[in-house]
Subunit: 137 residues, 2 copies
DNA sequence: TAATAGTTTAGAACCATTCTAATATTATAG
DNA sequence: CTATAATATTAGAATGGTTCTAAACTATTA
């Protein structure tokens, strides 16, 4: 048990295959919010079907989250290492991770409003560069 | 100018066609978070292409928002009348509107973190019925 | 009422994602 | 170590929600 990623997989009830170890490490060490195709291009030895299958498992196990409000029409993925939210630059489609917000009040409000037990949340904000050419107030 | 919906369209630079008036009224008076196909079924005189085209315009003009984290794989739409967030029951895919949360601190935090001017945000929470069969703690 | 700019439409096309079913691998037990 | 069962991987086909096309129509303006 010298490979901690292998532990992570097994603790989540997933067989530790080469592909899963490679994919998990990739997601853990990159914050580029890739699509399945981008990952497949970076890791061509893993078939596109396996990229999709494996990411789906990782999402189920909450190791990865989906970002799907991007105007390129593709599903992006992000490691779920630590709680954070996303800010998307709508001009460039750049996806920025941010964490300077405590979701606890939101989760409490949602539980109060619906009676449901909140298991996940997603916060995406969309913004643009402020116009620095503004000359007079 | 007796039709206030006509005003809404024209104020947003959209020609007031029959289809747009019908669709806008539909969205304003329903909180069922329909897909394009559901709307087309309810309003069969409006072609599916027009439903998509028109909703796209409405989203551009911020009259409507997209809800696309639903596990049915389809895009849902919601009137953007008043600021609110969504809570999705992941067992039933029911989408619940809620408004008991002030997004201002979140928007402030995002602007502070990124320097971007936030123009939109999306908050979706996912939850399940709390298990009422739990017998002992 | 004519001009024009924009809208609607049916159906075709697209393409990201899912499915299929044959092959290969992991984990477990003997 | 095997053998075994269960699960994972894969190439390529299929799917289906959404977008595109280009021809017919309509709101708007003068």
């Amino acid at each position: 048990m010298l490979n901690p990623l292998k532990n992570v997989l097994q603790e989540h009830g997933l067989k530790a295959t080469t592909q899963r170890l490679t994919l998990l490490e990739y997601m853990m060490t990159h914050d580029n919010h890739p699509t399945a195709e981008m990952i497949h291009n970076e890791l061509p030895d893993i078939s596109l079907a396996t990229v999709y299958n494996t990411l789906e498992k990782f999402v189920e196990k909450k190791l990865v989250v989906i970002i799907d409000g991007i105007s390129d029409g593709k599903r992006h993925y992000d490691a779920a290492d630590h709680p954070h939210y996303h800010v998307i630059n709508t001009k460039t489609n750049e996806i920025i991770d941010a964490a300077n917000f405590d979701p606890a009040p939101l989760i409490k409000a949602a539980q109060a409003a619906t009676g449901l037990k909140i298991t996940e949340y997603r916060i995406d904000l969309y913004g643009v560069e402020p116009n620095t050419n503004e000359v007079h107030s």
